[in-house]
């Protein structure tokens, strides 16, 4: 990737290193928008449970393109470009709502829920060749997996099933086995950090940064991280809470895993713990304990990342389990979460120090000096699986690795 203004420095030759310039340089933001966010791949943008009836919509931004995810009268969920086909006025500024149509306020052009132009005031004075049917809203591709909505701005993305094939089993398990979910609500935040720092978390930090993970015995317990050939990651841990919560909590119910006969959010062999599935590049289904959580992230700028944490119950849950999921989701995860708040605090501190030496990030835990490294399969406490994320990024962006 070369532009007239920016010649990328060489990528470090060591596989377990990533250059900070790839995080810090604003010049690569536009190429990222093109190659990754408008590139031939899929992006996790929602779940059907957020759009549970015809007319229900939410707006998202995929790369630079504002989209309306809309449940049509025909039951199909589409990703319509959120701009009138006439003068480009944004059609729907709200985050989420119900609509019967989308009407542009500027000249009152109106579109059906399926994106067809239905009304044009003054059309009798338009050129004779003008036809409503030729001026509907553009749309991005949308496909579903267990209700998860993946969108692509590229005209020719891979077949979604093939794109997800290596993570299909854990992803299905994380969604209660069938994806029949019910929306419980959102937490939303804007982190002052580059999107690649936000997604660069790993298992090494979990029991060290987060005191709550000590209660959950993350460190030393069983678990694994596996990267697929597309760069997706699956993290499994068999966490069982410390019986007395280290004496910290008066309400230990918050750290309890119910699982059992209820609709589960784990793989069959997992007794308890976490099942985290992160489709490359920026999607995440993060199920700690009984939480069913999808994270939809969007780079607002080179230094800002907006994250929507969406929480779900399963449609077969009894009211008691729904209440448990609501309590656990609200209090464990997100911008004020017992086990996650510290992440958000670290993101900003990395961003602020990107110009300090060393000029690269080194992934050490789980890496061997010998050539016998397999960062695609590591322990849940390691960090080197992130080198595969970076390698997928490097190749997608066309950056060249230095020869050692």
């Amino acid at each position: 990737m070369n532009t007239p203004d920016f010649q990328p420095p060489p990528w470090p030759s060591a596989f377990n290193e990533a250059p900070k310039w790839a995080v810090e340089r604003a010049e690569i933001f536009d190429p990222e928008m093109e190659r990754i966010f408008a590139g031939p791949l899929w992006h996790l943008v929602g779940h059907r449970a957020e759009l549970d009836a015809p007319g229900r919509f939410k707006t998202v931004q995929l790369g630079r393109v504002p989209l309306i995810l809309i449940h049509g009268q025909d039951g199909v969920i589409r990703a319509l470009h959120n701009a009138c086909a006439h003068r480009g006025t944004m059609l729907e500024p709200r985050f989420r709502g119900k609509a019967r149509e989308f009407e542009c306020p500027f000249h009152r052009w109106a579109y059906s829920l399926e994106g067809t132009l239905t009304r044009c005031p003054g059309v009798k004075d338009f050129p004779g060749s003008f036809e409503l049917t030729n001026h509907g809203l553009a749309s991005a591709r949308v496909e579903e997996f267990c209700g998860l909505l993946f969108a692509s701005l590229h005209p020719d993305p891979p077949v979604l099933e093939a794109w997800l094939v290596e993570i299909a089993t854990p992803l299905r398990a994380a969604l209660g086995g069938d994806g029949r979910l019910k929306l419980l609500g959102y937490q939303k935040t804007i982190f002052e950090t580059n999107w690649k720092i936000y997604i660069d978390d790993e298992g090494y930090h979990a029991p060290l940064l987060h005191r709550a993970f000590q209660i959950l015995k993350w460190k030393g317990g069983a678990g694994s991280q596996v990267r697929s050939s597309q760069g997706h990651r699956v993290t499994e841990t068999v966490m069982e809470g410390v019986a007395d919560n280290l004496g910290l909590l008066k309400d230990p119910e918050l750290m309890r895993y119910w699982g059992g006969e209820h609709p589960r959010n784990k793989l069959p062999h997992q007794k308890a713990g976490s099942l985290l599935v992160t489709p490359w590049p920026l999607g995440a289904v993060m199920n700690h304990l009984d939480i069913i959580n999808c994270r939809f992230a969007n780079p607002l700028s080179p230094t800002q990342t907006e994250v929507h944490y969406a929480y779900f119950a399963h449609q077969d849950d009894d009211p008691e389990l729904v209440r448990h999921r609501v309590r656990q989701s609200s209090n464990l995860i997100g911008p004020s979460g017992f086990i996650s708040l510290e992440d958000g605090a670290v993101f900003g501190r990395i961003q602020k120090a990107l110009h300090a030496e060393p000029d690269r990030i080194r992934y050490l835990r789980g890496w061997q000096d010998s050539s016998e490294n397999d960062p695609w399969h590591v322990s849940h406490n390691d960090e080197v699986t992130n080198t595969v994320w970076w390698e997928t990024y490097r190749q997608t962006m066309g950056f060249e690795r230095a020869t050692s």
């Binding site: 985050f95 989420r96 929306l183 419980l184 609500g185 959102y186 937490q187 939303k188 935040t189 804007i190 982190f191 002052e192 940064l209 987060h210 005191r211 709550a212 910290l248 909590l249 008066k250 309400d251 918050l254 907006e306 929480y311 609501v326 309590r327 989701s329 609200s330 209090n331 997100g334 911008p335 004020s336 017992f338 708040l341 510290e342 958000g344 605090a345 670290v346 900003g348 501190r349």
Partner: protein, 162 residues
């Protein structure tokens, strides 16, 4: 505000609101906890969830034990892992009226400014307090405080209650 509210009730409620804000801006989590009655609850949620009747919150303390655990989070679990900030709360009461069961119901606007460790201040959140208050022997405490954030996309992490 209704004219039928007895003056001693109004004074007790004002004193509670002041104790609450003083505790938070003074990072006195014990003092914050003491603003709640034993059957007290505390919720923070976004206006987006509130509008759609979605139950998820940013903080969801539906029992006194949960309130006590929030004190533990802030004073014992998170210190050292986050960049501290100083809050300044500003409150304007819009309504106070009698509620069922001898309680009082109050609505207030709230804004919170946050100042970072380098002295830079910004508006942190804007929202409303929806309160149920019990006054016993001239002392008011919250039975329930529900904070609805207009700022439903928070600027990063929210460590302290609001």
């Amino acid at each position: 505000m209704s004219a039928v509210i007895p003056e001693e009730i109004r004074q007790a409620v004002d004193a509670l609101q002041q104790r609450y804000l003083r505790a938070l801006d003074g990072k006195d989590m014990r003092g914050w906890l003491e603003c709640f009655d034993r059957d007290g609850s505390y919720f923070v949620t976004g206006a987006d969830n509130d509008q759609d009747d979605l139950p998820i919150g940013l903080m969801f303390d539906d029992s006194y034990e949960r309130l006590q655990d929030r004190v533990t989070y802030v004073t014992q679990v998170w210190p050292g892992a986050f960049e501290d900030y100083q809050t300044r709360h500003f409150l304007q009461t819009l309504d106070l009226q009698a509620d069922a069961d001898g309680l009082w119901k109050s609505l207030s606007n709230v804004t919170v400014f946050a100042t970072d460790l380098r002295g830079r201040s910004q508006l942190f959140i804007a929202g409303t307090y929806h309160d149920r208050i019990r006054v016993t022997n001239g002392m008011a405490r919250f039975c329930g405080r529900r904070v609805v954030l207009d700022t439903f996309a928070t600027p990063g992490v929210v460590v302290y209650p609001l």
